[in-house]
C-alpha cells in the first residue's frame, strides 16, 4: 500500500472516530427519549418498547412550546439588531484610513477576548437599575451589539475590491448608498451566514439568560430545559421526558442546518482559513 493511501486511510479512521464521538450522545439522547421510564437504567441501549408519546407529553405536560416561541422570537429580534449595528460598525472599521480608528477596532476586539462572565455583574447592575431584569427587552438590550458580528463583517467588507468602491464613489455614491448598494449586496453570503451564526449563538445562549430571566413565561429553551431537569429531581427524574424535550429543542437547529449547512461551512472556512 502506498504512503498516500495509508495517509488517506488514517485520515478517514480519525474522521470516523471523531464523528462517532460527536454523534453518540445525540443518538443516546434519542434512544432514551423513546424508552419507558423504567428502562432508563436498564443497561441496554435499545428500548424494549417504543414510546413516542414522550414527545407529545413534552407539549402537554411542560411549557416547551412557550420556551421555543420565546427563544426563537427573541433570537430573531437580536439578529436584526446585531446585524444592523454590525453593518455600520464594520463599514467604518473596514474603510476608515485614520490610525485612531484602527486602534479603536483593536480595543473593541480586545473586549471580545474578555471572558463574558466578567461583564455579567456590570450588565446585571445596569439592567437592574433600569428595572429591566427578567424581561425580554433587558436581554435584547444587552445583546444589541455583537463584537463577533462586527469582526466577521469587517473581514468580509475588507474584501470588497477597492476599485469597485472607488468606481461607486466616482458614480456619486455616498456612505449610505455605498453600504446598501455595494457592500451589502457584495457580502450577502457573509451576511446570510452571520444571520445563521448569530441565531445559533443566541438560541443556545444559556448562562446570561439564566441569570437574567426568572419568571416562567419569559423563559428560553435553554433555561426551560434546565428547569425540567431540576423540577423533577426530588421524585426520581423523568429522563425520557427530559430527553424528548432536548430532542425537540434541537429541531430548529437541525432544520437550519439542513437548509444552510453548505453556507455555514463555507462562511466558517472563509473566516478562519487564510486563502
Amino acid at each position: 500500500m502506498s504512503l498516500a493511501k495509508l495517509k488517506t486511510g488514517i485520515h478517514y479512521a480519525m474522521l470516523i472516530l471523531l464523528s462517532v464521538l460527536m454523534v453518540f450522545p445525540f443518538l443516546w439522547m434519542f434512544l432514551i427519549s423513546i424508552k419507558p421510564k423504567s428502562e432508563v437504567y436498564s443497561g441496554s441501549l435499545l428500548p424494549s418498547t417504543f414510546h413516542f408519546e414522550n414527545y407529545i407529553r413534552v407539549f402537554t405536560e411542560t411549557k416547551m412550546l412557550l420556551y421555543l416561541w420565546n427563544s426563537i422570537s427573541v433570537s430573531l429580534i437580536v439578529i436584526v439588531f446585531q446585524i444592523f449595528t454590525a453593518i455600520f460598525a464594520a463599514y467604518v472599521f473596514a474603510t476608515a484610513q485614520k490610525r485612531w480608528v484602527r486602534y479603536c477596532f483593536v480595543l473593541i476586539l480586545a473586549t471580545y477576548m474578555l471572558p463574558s462572565a466578567v461583564t455579567y455583574i456590570p450588565s446585571f447592575i445596569l439592567l437592574s437599575k433600569a428595572n429591566l431584569l427578567d424581561t425580554h427587552i433587558g436581554y435584547i438590550l444587552s445583546e444589541l451589539i455583537s463584537i463577533f458580528a462586527v469582526f466577521f463583517l469587517r473581514q468580509s467588507f475588507a474584501q470588497v475590491p477597492k476599485d469597485v468602491v472607488h468606481a461607486a464613489k466616482l458614480d456619486g455614491a455616498g456612505h449610505l448608498r455605498l453600504i446598501f448598494t455595494v457592500y451589502i449586496p457584495y457580502c450577502k453570503n457573509a451576511i446570510a451566514s452571520l444571520v445563521l451564526i448569530t441565531f445559533i449563538y443566541s438560541y443556545n445562549n444559556y448562562m446570561w439568560p439564566s441569570l437574567l430571566i426568572k419568571s416562567e413565561e419569559n423563559m428560553f429553551v435553554t433555561i426551560g430545559l434546565r428547569r425540567l431537569f431540576m423540577s423533577q429531581a426530588g421524585y426520581g427524574m423523568d429522563f425520557p421526558l427530559a430527553m424528548a424535550a432536548c430532542a425537540i429543542s434541537l429541531a430548529p437547529m437541525l432544520i437550519l442546518l439542513a437548509i444552510a449547512s453548505k453556507r455555514i461551512i463555507h462562511s466558517m472556512a472563509n473566516l478562519y482559513v487564510n486563502k
Partner: protein, 362 residues
C-alpha cells in the same frame, strides 16, 4: 473647458519617500495624454489624484479653471476606467451603466437613451441583461468603458484598461479607444506601461519614473529624441542597444566611433569642446546583418526570437548583448558568426555621466 492643470503636485505615503514629487503639467482641452512608466513610478497615483480618490499631499489640481482639491470625486466631471474593470458584480450590465445616472437623478427615458447609445458604440447591446461574471474580459472592459461614457464626463481617466486583455483583443480595443476619443471630443488621460499603446494612442506622452516626469512630448519627439537613456530604453521595444563609443570629428562633422566603425551623426560641432565620454544607443530596427565585414561589427548569434513576420536576432558582442530586428527571411544557428551593421544617422548619443542625450541638451 476641460483642460487640466497640475501645479507642483506631490504625494507622500510614508514620511521619507515621495511617490509623486513636485509634478506640474498642463493638459489641453480634448487632448489625449498618455502617462507612461514602469510599475511603481506613480502614474496610477497621479491619475487617482486627478479623479479625487487619492488624497493630495501638496499642490493643486485644476479641471477647467476650478481648483478641485476639495471637490468630491463625483462633482469633478470625470469618469474612470479601472484596470480590473471594477464592475458591480451584483448588477447587470444595464444596471452597472445606470447606477451613476440614477444617483444623478437623470430621468429614466434619458438614462435608457444614453445607455442604448453607449451600447451601440461599444457593441454590447446583446449583453445588457447579463451579469459581469457572465462576460469575457474584453466584454467587461467594454462595459467598464460604457459605464464611463454614459456619464458624459469632461475628462476620461483610464488606468491600464487593456493590460488584462490578450494580445489580439488589446490591439482591437486600442483602436476602439482611439476612435472613441475622436468621437467623444473629451480630454483623455491614459495610464499604461506599454509603449506601443502610448505611441499609438497619445497626442502627447508623459514618461514618468520614480515620481517625476522624465520627458513630455509627442510620440514623434520622444522617439526621435529621447532625453536620456532611461527614456530611450523605455520607449523602445525590443530594448535599445547601448555600446561604449567615442566621438570623432572629421571634416566639420561629428562621428560616433564604435571599435573602428564610424557612424554619422547630426550632432553640432560644439559637443566636441567638452569631449564627453559617451554611450551610443542604437535601436534594434536600425541595425542590419550583412555579409560585408567592413563597417560592421563581428558578433555571434545567441538565439533568435520570431515575432510575427519579424525576427529578433539576439547577438553577443564582446561581453554584452546586442539585438537586431529584421524581417524574417532566414534562420540563424546558435554560435553562427555574423556582421551587424548600423544605419547612418540613427544613433543616439548619451553622456555616460549624466545619461542625457547630447542632441537634446538645452
Amino acid at each position: 473647458m476641460s483642460s487640466i492643470m497640475l501645479k507642483s503636485l506631490s504625494k507622500q505615503y510614508t514620511n521619507d519617500k515621495y511617490t509623486l514629487d513636485d509634478i506640474s503639467l498642463e493638459i489641453k482641452d480634448k487632448e489625449f495624454l498618455v502617462l507612461l512608466g514602469p510599475s511603481g513610478c506613480g502614474k496610477s497615483t497621479l491619475l487617482r489624484m486627478i479623479a479625487g480618490i487619492e488624497e493630495i499631499t501638496q499642490g493643486d489640481v485644476y479641471i477647467g479653471d476650478v481648483c478641485v482639491n476639495e471637490v468630491e470625486p463625483k462633482d469633478r466631471g470625470v469618469a474612470m476606467v479601472f484596470q480590473n474593470y471594477a464592475l458591480y458584480p451584483h448588477m447587470t450590465v444595464f444596471e452597472n451603466m445606470a447606477y451613476g445616472l440614477k444617483i444623478k437623478k437623470i430621468k429614466k427615458a434619458e438614462r435608457e437613451k444614453r445607455i442604448k447609445a453607449a451600447a451601440d458604440i461599444l457593441q454590447i447591446d446583446p449583453l445588457l441583461k447579463r451579469f459581469p461574471s457572465q462576460l469575457s474580459g474584453g466584454q467587461k472592459q467594454r462595459v467598464a468603458i460604457g459605464r464611463a461614457i454614459v456619464k458624459e464626463p469632461k475628462v476620461f481617466l483610464m488606468d491600464e484598461p487593456l493590460s488584462n486583455l490578450d494580445a489580439k483583443l488589446r490591439n482591437e480595443m486600442r483602436i476602439e479607444i482611439k476612435k472613441l476619443h475622436e468621437r467623444l471630443d473629451s480630454t483623455f488621460i491614459y495610464v499604461t506601461h506599454d509603449q506601443v499603446e502610448a505611441v499609438t494612442l497619445g497626442d502627447r506622452i508623459a514618461i514618468m519614473a520614480e515620481g517625476k516626469f522624465r520627458q513630455i512630448g509627442t510620440p514623434m519627439e520622444i522617439i526621435d529624441c529621447p532625453v536620456d537613456m532611461f527614456v530611450a530604453n523605455f520607449i523602445s521595444s525590443p530594448p535599445i542597444n547601448y555600446m561604449d563609443a567615442s566621438l570623432i570629428q572629421r571634416d566639420n562633422q561629428v562621428y560616433v566611433e564604435v571599435d573602428g566603425v564610424l557612424l554619422e551623426t547630426n550632432l553640432p560641432l560644439e559637443v566636441m569642446e567638452q569631449a564627453p565620454e559617451i554611450v551610443a544607443g542604437i535601436r534594434p530596427e536600425h541595425c542590419f546583418l550583412t555579409e560585408d565585414s567592413e563597417d560592421a561589427l563581428a558578433m555571434e548569434v545567441l538565439f533568435t526570437e520570431i515575432i510575427g513576420t519579424d525576427v529578433l536576432v539576439h547577438l553577443k558582442y564582446k561581453t554584452s548583448s546586442f539585438i537586431v530586428k529584421k524581417s524574417f527571411t532566414q534562420t540563424y544557428a546558435k554560435g553562427q558568426k555574423v556582421n551587424a551593421g548600423i544605419s547612418a544617422n540613427h544613433v543616439h548619443v548619451f553622456d555616460r555621466q549624466t545619461q542625457k542625450n547630447l542632441r537634446c541638451r538645452p
